[in-house]
């Protein structure tokens, strides 16, 4: 009769368990460069990791081909 289901603390604990996942911010100097493999203009796969260890890499993102970008 007096027994009451105490839901409130349970719900509170669940809410804590659902805290936001860590969000990756934009890259900064000193960060590890995300690795990737992409095809070059000849269809060959280029892997960033293959350059590491012996060469510095300048990675230039350009807007679109044929735009002077």
């Amino acid at each position: 009769m007096l027994r009451r289901i105490q839901l409130a603390p349970t719900l509170f604990a669940l809410a804590l368990g659902c805290s936001a996942a860590a969000q990756a911010g934009p890259l900064s100097v000193g960060d590890k460069a995300p690795d990737f493999t992409l095809p070059d203009q000849h269809g060959n796969k280029v892997h960033l990791g293959d350059f590491l260890g012996n060469k510095n890499v300048v990675l230039a993102f350009y807007v679109l081909a044929f735009t002077g970008g």
Binding site: L27, L52, K55, V58, L59, Y62, A65, F66, G69
Partner: protein, 87 residues
């Protein structure tokens, strides 16, 4: 030196030939790398202009974005510094 855009490989081939580029032009057709590097223009679906200098340990040593990335002197200076460190 590696170039990256969201263009297809055939488009990059013509672009490289027209401009005499001998370095790789990579196709990020699926936009995954542009997104990972935080420079994907979500509204228009292409990568914004940016230059990253990455050292031999895979660590980013220099970043130029947008207008700054047009002028290669920043990236060039960063590369020279890294070369000096090696020797």
């Amino acid at each position: 030196m590696i170039g990256i855009s969201v263009d297809s490989s055939p488009a990059n081939k013509v672009f490289a030939e027209q401009n005499g580029f001998t370095f790789p032009l990579l196709s990020d057709f699926k936009r995954t790398v542009s997104k990972e590097y935080g420079i994907l223009n979500e509204e228009y679906g292409f990568a914004n202009r940016a230059t990253f200098v990455i050292d031999t340990d895979g660590i980013i040593r220099h970043i130029d974005k947008d207008r700054d990335a047009i002028d290669p002197s920043g990236a060039h200076a960063a590369c020279s510094l890294l070369e000096h460190k090696k020797s």
